[in-house]
Symmetry: D2
Subunit: 369 residues, 4 copies
């Protein structure tokens, strides 16, 4: 394809194989001009498996080769968390567009440097999670910013599971549920409420030994968190996250305001609509959205931005702010004192109401348009 966006995938684990590469296929079926030119993994057999399943042109075990290639426009950084920062930075410096899975880095200085580079780089930098792109998030944002629930003063967010039984790095420093899961909650809360001022946390290693990839390992980073976030003006949120949670039946996000309440149906990585209480209504309104949004959707957005040469609405400064909150929460969890948040960011806006088909006429949500 002449003008196709040419993609190099770095990291061919479950995130690539089960999520991003299938999305590339779906986008190709929808006639997005995309080509897969590199599958890169430290483990050559994983790169080969990706090549075989998704018809990828080349493989390598050396990510520098991908960055050096003229054939590559866009790099997907899907490695172990601990390598994200280094690879993302190098890819930006090599002039590529970059999508980096969360977290963008484990280190605030490195992250700040990456953000700085992105401000003048040739390529766009898009940092996961992409939650602000979901229809549900944007509808909730509009409700909150239209004043439907008044001034928000309390919020809760929740995301956890039993923890991966693969990928040893999840349990090493730089891994853990906060960077892997809680990052969604922190992104959603700051997306809805704006920059945070202060953070406090309790954290610990709840399950010191786990079986991972068939071996019993020692867990070396916190797997269990309760985090308080102060948004100023007596507005306080809590994020509960852990690899210590088997199942839950609670909203992913809850916001309590002076005139009402809004909460997500489902979770912020897979939202299904929202529920709204307004005192003036005197009832709950339940808006179900069996949306086809997927947590990899940032890739579609980035590709569209590349093709149309417009700036992505997911900003690196937001990702940095989220990272600062998480890093400071880890510190607070260790020393028991509140931490100030120094960074800020300009929250994205979603003011315009978009046109939709009336809900009762969308009979079969599985049907493609």
């Amino acid at each position: 394809m002449e003008n196709a966006v040419k993609i190099g995938v770095i990291g061919c684990g479950s995130v690539a194989m089960g999520a991003y590469l299938p999305l590339v296929q779906r986008l190709q079926l929808q006639r997005y001009p995309l080509e897969l030119v590199y599958a890169c993994d430290l483990d050559a057999s994983k790169a080969a498996a990706a090549q075989e399943k998704f018809d990828i042109k080349r493989t390598t075990t050396d990510f520098e080769e991908v960055l050096a290639s003229d054939e590559v426009d866009l790099v997907l950084v899907l490695t172990a968390m601990q390598a994200h920062g280094r690879v993302a930075r190098a890819a930006l410096e090599a002039g590529k567009h970059v999508l980096v899975e969360k977290p963008m880095s484990m280190d605030l200085e490195e992250a700040a440097e990456i953000v700085r580079i992105s401000e003048t780089s040739k390529g766009f930098l898009l940092c996961a999670p992409h939650v602000i792109l979901s229809e549900t998030f944007q509808e909730m944002w509009r409700r909150v910013h239209a004043g439907d629930i008044g001034q928000v003063h309390l919020a809760r967010a929740f995301y956890g599971w039993a923890g991966p039984f693969w990928g040893r790095w999840y349990y090493l420093p730089g891994g853990g549920p906060l960077f892997d899961l809680g990052v969604y909650n922190v992104t959603s809360l700051t997306g809805l409420l704006g920059p945070a001022r202060r953070v406090m946390a309790m954290s610990g290693i709840a399950i010191p030994r786990r079986e991972v990839d068939g071996e019993l390992i020692d867990v070396q980073t916190e797997d269990n968190f309760q985090i308080l976030i102060d948004f100023g003006e007596a507005t306080f949120a809590v994020v509960t996250t852990g690899f210590t949670i088997q199942r839950y039946r609670v909203p992913g996000i809850e916001l309590y305001g002076t005139e009402g309440t809004i909460q997500m149906i489902g979770e912020d990585w897979n939202p299904q609509g929202y529920e709204l209480w307004r005192n003036a209504d005197g009832c709950w309104r339940v808006y179900e959205q069996r949306s086809l949004w997927h947590w990899t959707d940032g890739l579609r957005h980035l590709v569209e931005c590349i093709l149309e040469n417009r700036t992505p609405i997911i900003r690196p400064q937001h990702a940095y702010h989220v990272l600062e909150i998480m890093v400071k929460a880890m510190e607070s969890g260790r020393d028991g004192t509140a931490k100030e948040i120094e960074s800020s960011f300009e929250p994205p806006r979603f003011d315009l109401e978009h046109e939709t088909v009336a809900a009762h006429l969308r009979h079969d949500p599985t049907r493609e348009e």
Copy 2:
């Protein structure tokens, strides 16, 4: 009635008129030997209204008169929160049985003194909230202590509303939602998980001016809280409470363990059963209990203990521990550092399974037995 328990009510506001006195009536209809001998309120018209509506023998505006009366066996302390400690202590010292609404005191030293006195007093001391008496609480306790959800590592509790539009003292120091509402959550969590070790909080005045009893007043105590509680062994709970919440659709109590999850249906002051996930089941089990338990139920329990001369299962030491958590949470909310909890208590046990009618044969839960 010869051997009736004779009751003096101190404080004839909405808690007496709308809850405890109607309970006395219901108990009388059920042939509990109870007599109402004193209605006491600083406002003589309120005492008179109680007398009129509930056929109470005498009224007074002086609580000392109630305590001095030989006619009184049991004193209900239902005053403004700020007076609880003083009245409860004096009543105990006067040899009365005492039921005191929450909190038992605003002050840790006074509370400790009250607990000490209760250890040798002639009368029993029973401190609200009475949540551990509910069928739902006790079933949840049994599930947790039978190991149904494994080792608990995360918990959440929630209780709030828009706040009273009567009773100025709710918004003065010593009032506020933590002592009024959050106290339920802290009692439930410690009842289920045992003594706490540490607490951390964010708190503030979210709504500085309110209309109360028809007047606009300045709020002088925190009306908004997020509180973290450390139970040791990387087990962390959050309590969210405030007069800043319009409505909610979340469980009052959630516990997350290594083998499953249990959460209340409804709230701990008005529970309706529980939901249980066990990994071994692979499903949610929903136990609905349209119970007739009421949050005033401690009075029934106390009367039975008096009549049968046995010790109430709600212990003053538990109430003190809860108070220490709340007082320290207020401190932490002000200085941003974690606080150690010094007290402990022996949690009540509910090991015995009781006989019940199969659920599908309880057709009409409103029908009296």
Copy 3:
């Protein structure tokens, strides 16, 4: 009491002991002028038990004695279903006010005669069920009649359980779940949609032998029903009822219109609010009403009507129409053909919106006003 309404209770089984007599007590506590003067049951020990528990002046085993007594103003007919018609008719003819539990009779001719008598009798006749008095029913009526869901064309109603394990007469001709349970559904549907035109049914004896009052008996009337009701203009309802249902999680009443849907939360004998979909809203609105309405509430209404000398809004003609539908459904279930409904009635109206406290300010629904 000078002007008290003096009550004679005929039938002292579980409906009297567990429901109506406790209601009389509650009403007395609320200062309704009520006196219990007769407890009547064929079984003298049951009459004595009622007398003992509820302080009733006299007992008898002969209902004629109650009807002949000058002391009695109001007769509660709470006997086995098969005796309702005879006792109710005699009570009306004796000049008493009459509350008769459902069904008013087993026989259309007798029922027609009772209605005719009630038109000129000295006393009022009030026939259970009293469902149209519930706040939820009236709110649903207003929604439907305001056109909120457009023209209704489909409806479903549901009420069943495992069946009584006491009271042999439930399983004799004239008993069964349609007269005992389904009668609520048929009353609600006709209350909401108006008079029916036609009925069709399938019915049978699903469980031919049952243990009742400790003995194994042969079931001699249908215990299982699916009933279709035609309201004209292509509007069709189904009523599902049986002593063949262990548990359910579905709305008691569902109405589907051309502009939306409304359905009850809970069941029509114990409603908890409603859910409303309007195409114009594009969301479900959930109105929860933890109401204190009870299925015996017709007694309160009848007492108020007697005291204020106004006509009850529950009309005998409505009860007759419901009875015709049930009797014809039994016939249709036996011969497999549709039956025309000949009677009609003037449905009650509930046009006026009443004043209420905003829902978020009703914090404690258990608290008495």
Copy 4:
């Protein structure tokens, strides 16, 4: 591809474009050997649009050309309902494998003839709906047949919506919601409970004029149904269906037995698990299955059967039985008498429990394996 199954699509409307052809694409991505060789539609522009979007080899407006082609192995009959029978029969006679959307025919004689032909034809005949292939259906079947809810005596099924605003034939004789939607319910109920004995119905035209494809048309077939089905032994089901339903929040399928209840979460054309009450448990068990099953899944099954030369588990005799129930329900709706069902079929069995990953380890149901 050498051994590919070569597909001819007859009818290129929304069912082909929005559902079956996207499924073919997904199957191709999963390496199923499939080729699309013919797009056929009376409207040449629709055939061309399908060709363009799904890379189909040829187009035609003459379905006979497809049947005559040696290149075609499998014919998808996705035309207007009224043409299904004629095309399906001709395709079978031409030696093709046939997947026919519901209903297989509008006429019992034609349908019986098609079934007879299929018994000796070279190709397989697979009739939609394919609901018995869903994981939820099969789990419910296993529960019922393991006796988990005892003997079933009552059932309800529900499926409706506002009705198509395209496709005039939906509102002509042979169209309507029973053949389009209710067919799912009738298939599920007979799949779970076995052959039916008798049927009764109310039906009518509720909305006589509709806007379809931008024009106001006269509706010429019933758009509103309540149908009773007798399964023998006092077991009765109701099916509620119509183009008269805007939205609903009820289970698609409910079964009530002597020991418990089972009901679907979601609807039978898009099930999401099930809820189970067993008296012995005393609780609801909620099994959520966010399955990736789709209502077009019969095509995957048929392709696998063709490739492996084994008989499909969806049997033409079942489809015929379902058709007889529907045709007789239409007759009963018109004359108000019960109709006997003459046909029977051997219900499919799903005895073997299959291996699954524990639910709490299936963290991301959107992730591809």
